[in-house]
Symmetry: C2
Subunit: 170 residues, 2 copies
């Protein structure tokens, strides 16, 4: 849809459309609806980002599933997350890769109290495993900040699949 | 489960168990997990209430479905909301009652920009219709406050179906 359509949506249709731009946090879209009209897609993205920053970061991160974890195995991922994890090859790990991913995820969660969050669409399988391995050695504050940066990247890409950009691509 | 079990839950199991004590806001449980251990069920309830108060109220309210609305007709209510709406008879309105409810819901939403929220388990069909009719005449600030009070009542009852109370009932 285009931005004029977005700005004309009722809160119900807005939350239906944008309720999962931040994983399992329809509250974000529900709150940001009050800020319409949005002059540009960038303005909508900024409003979402500002609201994300006002929420407790570890709470937002804990609403995210593990990569190649229980929800993927059980088929209980959100549609968006399912597509993103598939794009990074998380649904087709070899048994050794799957074990390694599982072990690193558990280590990461035990250390930080929230899951490893990364924008899967911007990374392939090797990059995800490498970053997970590296990032689990960070201090907590760094990972909180980094996790939220990744949430915003995920949000941005989800948004761009829903709203036409302001300027036509050349 | 008892409180010792609650306090021993991983964030994942905690969010699985309590993720919908505030409708479609797993963020609330996800954030409050950081505050464990909870000395009493009242302390858990207070932590949830405190976090609810820190969020934009209209955002929380907009995550709630209409009573006897589209989600009920489409079968897309959350399990908790479905049971609560049934308890208040919302799934068995006569055609005239259903029309009236639908009209009042639309008026309420057009006036306030969020849905009419009421703890359905504490009201029967007649009380819901009466309160909806009365409350739609309030000023917005009153309804924001009142709606959040109802969110907390709903939260409390959902919590009490999940956690054993501290003291045995006599």
């Amino acid at each position: 849809m285009d931005l004029a359509t977005v700005n004309a949506l009722s809160y119900e249709d807005f939350v239906d459309a944008f309720g999962n731009v931040v994983e399992k946090c329809p509250l974000v879209a529900a709150a940001v609806w009050s800020k319409r009209p949005f002059a540009t897609l960038t303005a909508l993205e900024a409003a979402l980002g500002e609201f994300i920053d006002a929420l407790p970061p570890s709470g937002i991160l804990r609403c995210h599933p593990d990569l190649a974890g229980r929800d993927l195995r059980d088929g209980t991922l959100t549609r968006e997350s399912s597509e993103e994890q598939a794009a990074a090859g998380m649904d087709a790990l070899g048994s050794e890769e799957a074990s390694r991913m599982s072990r690193l995820n558990e280590e990461y969660k035990a250390r930080f109290g929230f899951p490893f969050v990364i924008c899967a669409r911007m990374n392939d399988k090797a990059a995800v495993l490498r970053q997970l391995s590296e990032r689990r050695g960070n201090v907590r504050e760094v990972e909180v900040t980094r996790g939220i940066e990744e949430v915003k990247k995920i949000c941005r890409l989800r948004l761009h699949t829903l709203v036409l950009t302001d300027a036509p691509k050349l």
